[in-house]
Amino acid sequence: MNFVKSRLPWIVAGLCLLYVLSLPFRHIKSEAKEDVETLGRLPVLADGRVKPLDSFARTTLLTISGKQTLTVDEPATGDVKAHARQIPAIEWYLEMLANPDRADDRRVFRIDHPELVSMLGVTDTKQIRFSLKEISPHLDKIEEQANRAQEIPRREQDLFQRSVLDLFNKLMTYQEVRLGRAPFTIAPMTQGEEWQPLAAILSNPQLQQQESTQAIVSLLFAAKESKPEDFNSTVSAYAKRLDDVLPKETRLAHAEEIFNIAQPFSHTAALYVLAFILACFGFLTRTGGASDWSRALARSAFLVIVLAFAVHTIGIAARVYLQGRPPVTNLYSSAIFIGWACIPLAVAAEWFARLGIGNAVASLIGFATLIVAHNLSTGGDTMQMMQAVLDSNFWLATHVVVITIGYSATFLGGFIAAGYLIFGTLTKRLGQDALTALPKMIYGVTCFACLTSFVGTVLGGIWADQSWGRFWGWDPKENGAALIVFIHLIILHARFGGMIKHRGMAVLAVFGNIVTAWSWFGTNMLGVGLHSYGFMDSAVFYLLAFAATQLAIMCLGFIPVARWKSIRAAETTPTTPGNALASPQT
């Protein structure tokens, strides 16, 4: 048993490492005879930037259907039974252009609103994805409803109207792709040529002579006439040509393609879940203090977190390399970054206290923020170009990064405080060591959060002064940032003035979670319109639900100290006082 206990961390870490190393090789292979993988690596221009065709196909399919692959039901043929097959996005894209008739049969349009589904004359309430052919008889009705919805401000639209508009936009996107208007597939091969969409050859006969046009057109014909050999030889020759003519674009497109296949963030999320479970078990095996099992599990959780953090870091580094931008450029990347920045902070806090709770909180925040990011990613390209006003790497690297670290630190402090309140009042798990160490952790993290959120906020003001001459404009986003600074200042001053002690500090730190969630998401919801679609509508619900849980946890803090189970347990089994921080980990 002891053998298992001492080796457990390394066994777990070894298995996870194998899993991570297998990532670049594990993806859904296309069953098509055409070499769609090479096709997917070709650089194209969409959303204002050069990217691999596969990225475009994935983003488009994700926007329309909510998934990056297409599931189709294959009917039974010969001795093969009927089964569901996964089609990669790039294969779907090729089908759209080469076999539009078959593509129109694919159920790709995700529709959730029941009234909208019934408008299509469908009574099967389980069906959530529809093909163009199922929708097209009702296009008139959809367009009429969409026009009606468009006439009123976004803020006043109801769920049905938003769903109709959403569907309408999906249909437009689909049409753009099918007609070859997006992406710009025709690459500039010589001086003076520019990126062009395939559809442009109709209006510009000169374009037909261009080398890249001819390559793309013959690819499509080969696919249409089911000549995979022709397709494969053309695509590999064209890919080589592009490699020579556009070396930089091709290199970036290849790198992004590997990034697409590896999907680092979804696997990071899985590792965080594992780490969280290990950390929880480690915590549950504590009985008033650390036990052998709890140490082994905490150590396992720690190693898994280190590994997850490494993958997380590689993912962020890859995005920085691909975009040529600092890590946080939009809401999606802020979610990824908040989780990432929490990890080293939590590990540092853990280093002081050695309780295992840092692991649990780090992995929980890491996982939760990646889930938020995943839900934000369905809105389109997550590496979209920056609006002119935001186009400043200096301020993106300073203000945005610092303030996002401030969010991270606030969440970290808040979640540690939540753990302190929940386990302290309801369980006997917190020993004297934890009861002393946790408030110190909360305090330390709050100091750091105060520094970063203040500096980040003021840097934002200075950026605003640089770009439109107004240091502080009292707009919702700025006010949100100020609220975070306020809550930290309140915690620090109230504690310093003796107005609150451990309990009060923990309650206010949990309140910090609500304030941060408000600042991060809530302020974007006020103007419902510009910034919000899909996830953001339901995000109002999740935000309120999150706030409600945090309020419930804060209420625990009002239980008098004398009734805390952990404190009562700790008083009956005294440990050496004051050794909490100094206890060596053996």
Binding site: L45, A46, D47, G48, R49, A182, P183, F184, E194, W195, W351, F352, Q384, M385, Q387, A388, V389, D391, S392, K440, G444, C447, F448, C450, L451, F454, V455, V458, L459, G461, I462, D465, Q466, S467, W468, G469, R470, F471, W472, G473, W474, D475, P476, N479, G480, A482, L483, F486, L489, I490, H493, A494, F496, G497, M499, T523, L526, G527, L581, A582
Partner: protein, 391 residues
């Protein structure tokens, strides 16, 4: 009773925590108020006021629950002054000048500077827009938050004689007269924000409201004022005015900031040009727009950058040079700063934001002081447990 015992309550940490908590509440209320109100209204009512009535309705969606009533609350000015007093008092009696406390002292000095900076901005800063077409020049800035009715007498070839009626008067005075004008103006309807309807969109009744000028083809309808969460939307004030001369009507006109040109009114053989325009402040310098550029990312409508190449002429300062103004790269001249703010459709007219703020540098110093102060303070505090832990 000595000085110290007088100051002591002012320096209390309880007061600090009270101010901070009240600040939090005020900031939240001031944010929520922007769902219904314009940002400048909110800034004046909540953040630069002595006190404010905060309606309960702010905190609940109107669709779910209607709650009447409001509570009085200290405004931003009151809280800011209180915090300033609190901090200054703390400096006098609490902060002892020792190396151990240097971090605390620096960071709090930074906060005082920040408050002073915001105060200076509040009383001394001014901002407006300068709209210039390519090939043309401008020597005035417009305040897009306020309009004025301008009546121009162009009869003198050397300089126009202008009579200006401020917005406040238009909104409140039903009949306006001035000794310099041969007519009086009756304001039939004043619209703080309006939408303009063309001849095909407007109903006959709407077009019949004016019997002279462009108002016969274009009608204005009242719409709600732009709110803080709408972003950079600007209100378009309009008014229906009746021009009276010796008890006789010279016509009912539509005037609007949204109309491009002024309208002539003839009285006794003399013609006056009337227009509603954003309040103008004339400047001793001139900016001419040489070229406006607006690039988009290929295949999208996302602006990549916009820039204005202008010629700045200021005879009094002997300045005559060309300057390129673009995002994050303003021009600073004569205590004013010119930012690339926007442009008009067609990409040949630039809109520059012109700001005068004598306190603009204070936040920079403040940020530096607080950062250094907090780094020292928390660094010192963190060092102790690290030392212990490493042992």
């Amino acid at each position: 009773m000595n000085l110290k015992s007088l100051i002591e309550p002012l320096a209390s940490l309880r007061l600090t925590v009270f101010i901070l908590s009240a600040g939090m509440f005020l900031t939240l209320a001031g944010t929520l108020a922007q769902v219904e109100n314009g940002i400048w209204t909110v800034v004046d009512d909540y953040f630069r006021s002595i006190a404010v009535w905060v309606p309960f309705q702010l905190f609940f969606p109107e669709k779910l629950l209607k709650i009447p009533g409001a509570i009085p609350f200290p405004g931003g000015l009151t809280l800011g002054v209180l915090l300033f007093i609190n901090l200054t008092a703390a400096f006098i009696i609490r902060f002892t000048w020792s190396t151990k406390r240097i971090g605390v002292i620096l960071s709090h000095a930074g906060v005082i500077l920040l408050l002073v900076g915001e105060f200076v901005t509040g009383i001394a800063a001014d901002e407006g827009n300068m709209t210039i077409e390519e090939g043309k020049s401008a020597n005035f800035i417009e305040d897009i938050r306020e309009s004025e009715l301008a009546i121009v007498d162009p009869s003198d070839p050397t300089s126009d004689r202008v009579v200006v009626v401020p917005q406040g008067m238009l909104a409140s005075t039903p009949s306006i007269s001035d000794p310099r004008l041969p007519f009086t103006i009756e304001v039939l309807e004043w619209m703080p924000n309006s939408g303009l309807l063309g001849p095909m969109q407007a109903t006959k009744a709407q077009l019949d409201r004016a019997d002279s000028g462009v108002g016969k083809q274009i009608a204005a309808v009242r719409i709600p004022e732009a709110t803080g969460v709408d972003g950079a939307t600007v209100d378009v004030p309009s008014a229906y005015i009746k021009v009276m001369n010796e008890g006789k009507s010279l016509g009912t006109y539509l005037v609007s900031v949204g109309l491009v040109s002024s309208q002539p009114i003839s009285v006794g053989g003399k013609s006056y040009d009337v227009s509603l325009r954003f309040r103008r402040t004339y400047k001793p310098y001139t900016l001419s727009l040489i070229d406006f550029r607006h690039d988009r990312f290929v295949g999208t409508n996302t602006p990549r950058n916009f820039s204005s190449l202008v010629r700045l002429q200021d005879p009094a300062r002997n300045v005559d040079r060309e300057v390129l103004i673009y995002m994050n790269n303003p021009l600073r001249h004569a205590g004013e700063t010119f930012y690339q703010s926007s442009f008009k459709p067609g990409d040949t007219t630039t809109i520059l934001q012109v700001v005068r703020n004598p306190g603009w540098l204070l936040p920079y110093f403040s940020c530096g002081l607080v950062t250094i102060g907090l780094l020292i303070h928390f660094g010192v505090r963190l060092a102790a447990p690290i030392k212990r832990n490493v042992k």
